[in-house]
Amino acid sequence: MLSIKNLHASINGKEILKGINLEIKPGEVHAIMGPNGAGKSTLASVLAGRELFEVTEGEVIFEQKDLLDLSPEDRAKEGIFLGFQYPIEIPGVSTVNFMKTAVNEHRKYKGLEPLKASDFLKLMRDKKALVEIDSNLTNRSVNEGFSGGEKKKNEIFQMAMLEPKLAVLDETDSGLDIDALRIVANGVNKLKTAENSTIVITHYQRLLDYIVPDVVHVLFDGRIVKTAGKELALELEEKGYDWIKEELVK
């Protein structure tokens, strides 16, 4: 589904990603862990097409397409979803209008007619129930005045609405209390199918108790330095990242 080869990216001339290699197959859940500043969020942003970052080398193939050639909106419509670490507040843009526009843009891309108003509202209702998000949040402007947890729930709600092939969840657990964490993780799990894949970017192991990964990668200084099964997450939780650094030095 996704194949990243020797990906280098920099911001303002400073190289952040220094040769990432990653293969993700349909249905897989990959966790990317690593200390602060390792480049985890940069990788997520680059996959979503943030123009702030300049890709200097390497390739990203998504479903046989060169992802780096596509605009952020086309990547989204091809099926990539970025769950933001810090979702943006957009006063004055209603969540309903936002989602209606997004859903219909996706449909147009697939050659489908826009949804009828009643069908759209039904879809909203179903997905709201699925991810346990309150109507008083979706009736407001996008993320405006939301708590940290509410913003993350809203990300998962949007993901449910757009049904991506590949979801990249950037620090979705940050700022969540245990109840919110469980709700968010449940949402992700319910949306899981044998076809779609997930990249969970996280600093802590905690989220991985709920979203169980098939593969765990450690990102350090712009490179993936270790890849193993889910037990790696537990080891990291227990021992921190220092032992990996030491291993690298050897």
Binding site: G49, E73, I90, P91, G92, H106, L162
Partner: protein
């Protein structure tokens, strides 16, 4: 032509047209006329040398051989047929003006007993007791040259009177139709008197129906008595060859509540003077405005909140979206007088610039002579928020549409303050069209906007 020539031409017009000006106007109006003319001779048309007009050069707009109608010009055809406001579900008391003059075949209005809506001329004669008490009392011909000029040339406009305790449910919508085959200068003078504990909503719309060049100089005086609630919506949507000078003077008495919203959607040159005098305690005032300008359009909003009495709250917010070579200016003057303790006065002006060549000059001006007050002001000039833009695009919304949504959201903050739902919906629609680069035409106005 030099500014002196322009001023002298007005002096000649006044002297030579004196008998026509005085004809059908009440004695009281004519007394005010004389006084104002003296003021105009002193002040003249404001030039860039005038600090308050530093960013708006009116001289080119005045430098043109306009026709000036000193008498009611018979309207050919039925204006009610020629123009109808097509806002769905906007149920208003519709009053038409023709080039600033009260149309003599306006339809009967659905207004409560005691409420008066008529021509200014008629009010000056038939309701002189009310008229003389308020006319010329709030406008400042001694400070503003264009107000002096208006008062000197004033013949007609709309008069609205809402008696004590009366609530006018249906908004009163006054549409001034600029319609002339010759280039025209129109002078419109309005007087609105809202008595104690009364309530009313007023919508002023301006439309250009022909391609002629227009200079429209309007002055509205509005007195809102104790405990009264009054809304004023001003919708400006004229063609590029029109200059709109719109001066509003509001006086608020104790415990009154006023909301005004000035929406400048289109026009060649627009200058709004918005004065509010807080002349009683515990008044509340909300002054909002929005301007969407592109090409080489120009808009200048000058506001003055004069806190003369204690315990009043004023809240002011203007927002603008500017593209191409459009220019705008905003001045927010607040004066808290010495005894106006416990005043709260807030002011904001936010601008979104879409091109490198659009210009905004924004200036807060606070004069605070009392010591126990809360005042704030803030002005921002910015471009589109890149984070928000990326967020929308990352959900599959194309860049153009995402920009549209953000611009619309920016403007909507002002639109949502409108307390008439049908009007709010229509403005939303017009603004959306406008931001999409379509002509935001209001029905029949289309013919003249589309140039």
């Amino acid at each position: 032509m030099s500014i002196d020539t322009i001023n002298n031409d007005f002096a000649d017009l006044f002297e030579q047209g004196k008998s026509l000006l005085d004809d059908k106007s009440s004695k009281f109006m004519n007394t005010k006329r004389e006084e104002a003319f003296e003021q105009f001779k002193r002040l003249g048309v404001p030039t860039l040398a005038n600090e308050n007009y530093k960013y708006t050069n009116l001289v080119p707009a005045f430098d043109h051989p306009y026709t000036v109608d000193l008498q009611y010009r018979t309207v050919m055809g039925d204006l009610n047929e020629l123009f109808y406001c097509d806002v769905p579900e906007l149920d208003t008391n519709l009053v038409l003006l023709s080039n600033g003059w009260y149309y003599n075949q306006n339809r009967k209005l659905d207004i409560p007993e005691g409420v008066i809506v008529c021509s200014l001329q008629e009010a000056a004669e038939k309701h002189s007791e009310i008229f003389d008490k308020h006319y010329g009392k709030y406008a400042k011909p001694n400070e503003e040259g264009i107000v002096a000029l208006n008062t000197a040339l004033a013949k007609d406009g709309v008069f609205i009177y809402v008696p004590k305790n009366v609530v006018v449910e249906k908004p009163i919508q006054v549409i001034n139709l600029l319609r002339s085959d010759r280039d025209l200068m129109a002078t419109q003078r309005n007087l609105v008197v809202i008595e104690e504990n009364a309530q009313a909503k007023l919508i002023f719309c301006d439309h250009t129906l022909t391609h002629s060049k227009y200079l429209s100089n309007t002055v509205s005086e509005i007195n809102v008595a104790k405990n009264a609630i009054f809304d004023l919506y001003t919708l400006q949507n004229q063609h590029l060859n029109a200059t709109i000078l719109n001066s509003v003077f509001i006086r608020q008495e104790a415990n009154s509540n006023v909301l005004s919203n000035t929406l400048s959607l289109y026009g060649g040159m627009i200058r709004n003077n918005h004065y509010t005098l807080f002349d009683g305690e515990h008044c509340e005032n909300h002054t909002y405005g929005m301007y969407l300008m592109d090409r080489n359009q120009h808009v200048d909003n000058f506001t003055f909140a004069d806190h003369a009495k204690p315990n009043c709250v004023s809240n002011e917010h203007f927002k603008g979206v500017m593209d191409d070579e459009a220019t705008a200016a905003f001045t927010g003057k607040i004066h808290v007088r010495r005894d106006a303790q416990k005043t709260e006065a807030y002011q904001k002006n936010n601008n979104l610039l879409l091109s490198d060549t659009a210009v905004i000059n924004t200036k807060p001006q606070l004069i605070i002579d009392a010591d126990d007050v809360k005042c704030s002001h803030g002005a921002t000039v910015g471009q589109m928020d890149d984070d928000a833009l990326f967020y929308l695009r990352a959900r599959g919304i194309n860049e153009k549409e995402a920009r549209m949504m953000l611009m619309f959201a920016f403007a909507h903050e002002i639109i949502e303050k409108i307390r008439i739902d049908a009007l709010k919906d229509r403005i939303d629609e017009l603004v959306e069209k406008r931001l999409r680069g379509e002509i935001s035409k209001c029905n029949t106005c289309a013919i003249a906007c589309n140039q």
